[in-house]
Subunit: 399 residues, 2 copies
């Protein structure tokens, strides 16, 4: 049967993620800097085992049953508490919605807000899978350049004015202000305030994606934009994937009750609710302080891995290759000489040199930069980091 003739128009915006394709290679003899996976040694396995046994003994019938679309109420309470303790975000259970990873929150944003032709503003480069999630909704993606202090908010304001003067409908500004994906850059506190001012001045919504603020390696003092937000214009996303375990697929949204209501309606059709079982496990993880206890260890490990990657880059990379010194998170962002297209480089790197990375193209709203790459330092071992960067340097030299 010919399926092609039955496909909806929007399927032409559905393309395979390079990251996901790369995850497939991670198991073979290729050293992969591709994915964004945590080091499995950071998973608090013993604590999880205790928790799971407790959950199945204490309230199996709730944990194994259907649940409410917004999430388990006690977990929403606990997340509200956690948000205040860790991020200074004052909120309450009613402002929290539990999602199937942060990816679902990105989908909800597209689904609830984006009509074809609407404008979504992002840092440029930004998180590739966010762009991919929204493309089926056909927004105009507008990228704002970054410098070492994060999104250049002066340029943002100019752009907003220009867009509004043209009558464009700006739906939201998407930012990963802390240890950004893919650059590792953290937006300064001044810029954060300025960004919020711009949003207030032009009555715009901000989406703050914050998976990485748990892993800031430098003593940078920044608050989430959501913590500064007085007018409920920030939708804040975070996730258990990097601080507990990604195998649970659990993320959350903190936003105004009106946004939560729309996300709730949209989520009903997507999957009714996030796994109750998984929610109760994370609830106990928060209650018992497993996450809080685990964090310093994880941060220390990732800092050492970052340093190992920076040292290897320093040792092996030829002239003309530059890279960021990530303030936190999971990635180094590297730029090779402009005559090298990293998508082409990848093929050779994988087949001949047995090393993988994500070409930078897809992180740009317009794919305008072709000589960049994202390198993950959290998943590979210290040995693999050194050997992989050595191989990558050889591949670049040949190119």
């Amino acid at each position: 049967m010919d399926i092609g003739k039955l496909l909806a128009e929007r399927t032409k915006y559905m393309t395979a993620s390079e990251i996901r394709e790369l995850l497939k290679w991670a198991t073979v003899d290729v050293i992969s800097f591709g994915g964004g996976m945590p080091d499995p040694s950071t998973f608090p396995v013993e604590d999880i085992q205790k928790i799971v046994n407790y959950v199945l003994e204490a309230y199996p019938h709730k944990a194994l049953q259907y649940g409410s679309t917004e999430g388990v109420y006690e977990l929403r309470q606990e997340i509200a508490k956690f948000s205040e303790e860790h991020h200074g975000i004052k909120t309450k259970a009613e402002n929290v919605l539990v999602t199937v990873g942060s990816q679902e929150a990105l989908e909800l944003l597209g689904r609830v807000f984006i009509n074809p032709g609407d404008v979504v503003i992002t840092e440029n480069p930004t998180y590739l899978a966010a762009l991919q999630a929204w493309r089926v909704y056909q927004p105009k993606l507008v990228g704002i350049p970054m410098d070492e202090h994060g999104m250049i908010v002066e340029l943002l304001e100019d752009k907003v004015r220009e867009l509004l003067a043209r009558g464009e409908r700006i739906k939201f500004i998407y930012t990963i202000p802390t240890a950004q994906n893919p650059t590792g850059i953290t937006m300064t506190q001044d810029r954060r305030k300025y960004l919020l001012e711009v949003a207030e001045r032009y009555d715009l919504l901000i989406v703050e994606d914050d998976p990485y603020s748990y892993f800031l390696f430098e003593p940078i003092q920044v608050a989430p934009i959501k913590a500064l937000d007085k007018s409920d214009r920030v939708i804040y996303l975070s996730t258990a994937s990097k601080i507990f375990a990604p195998g649970f697929r659990l993320g959350w949204v903190v936003a105004s009750e009106e946004v939560i209501k729309w996300f709730y309606l949209a989520k009903q059709s997507l999957n009714l609710n996030t796994s109750n079982f998984v929610q109760y496990i994370f609830l106990e993880g928060l209650r018992r302080g497993v996450v809080t206890k685990n964090l310093p260890r994880v941060k220390e490990l990732y800092k050492r891995k970052r340093d190992a990657m920076l040292a290897a880059l320093e040792t092996y990379m030829p002239e003309g290759v530059r890279w960021t010194r990530p303030s936190g998170g999971m990635f180094v962002w590297a730029t090779v000489p402009p005559q090298i297209d990293t998508r082409e480089l990848l093929r050779k790197a994988v087949t001949q040199y047995k090393v993988a990375f994500i070409p930078g193209h897809g992180f740009f709203v317009d794919e305008s930069v072709k000589n960049a790459m994202r390198l993950n330092f959290t998943y590979p071992s210290f040995e693999q980091i050194n050997e992989g960067i050595r191989r990558l340097a050889l591949a670049i030299k040949e190119a």
Copy 2:
């Protein structure tokens, strides 16, 4: 901040599910026949506890890590095997995709196939949450009447001819052939063959939703339509929710590799992957035969609950109330005299008589029938079934 002005057009098709709203009442003093929840005593808690401990000891790093969008390969293999053993569906891992409950599969169908104005054909009445999932994609929903043998396929064929003559684009025919939701009716084997013939004749796709064939109370010999399918035109959906536990949110799709590829691309943006942890638990559940071992007990319990509900209906209901004798599944479908609108009845039933059900309206593509209701018999206790039907009969008498 005014969110209203930022909403996408499609939000006007997002409405709260009556079922989900009703789930909220299930905990208070109202006896609820509303949801579609399993009896929690059917959850194989002890087996799950053993399995979870095994998974966390044997391969914690796989179970707690990100996974592939299609699902854990070994689980896909095991589901393929299960499909053959339980349903006579010959398939392989590559034809299986694991979803966040069957609800996600319904969303994937809409996302991949439906353009605004496309036709989707369903039984009338049909599963309310399927209609809701697709509404955001703005199909024309065409309902085919049922009799006690299931969808009247003669009428389907006439309708298909008429639609095609008008140049309509039919995307798929959605059916729940076994112990249908909401009616409990099982389509005869002859009808199934005829339905497949019609699909072949007009080159149409069939979506077979099959959560309930595990619970057929009568000795009816039927095969899934998918088991008869020679031309890969049936997309088959099932779920662990009713045979293991709904708290895991785990379902699956069996379809051609081309359909699986499109679902995979669509699912990437929705949530990257279904929880690996949950997948490994169900994998072990299948491997150890927990599901197979549990089924006769569950079926026996649900049969007794159905019989209890039928007996209570017989005892208490006034003249003019009719109901189906469900061949399996979880629901009785009842019809009250035409002057009673069950949506209005519901309010009184809940507030005054402390009993809840789902009004039938939303199960019809055109909400054309206003005097029907769906009654769940699996979740309430035997006592609640008797007492709840007694209360409901009083409410109907008053109306």
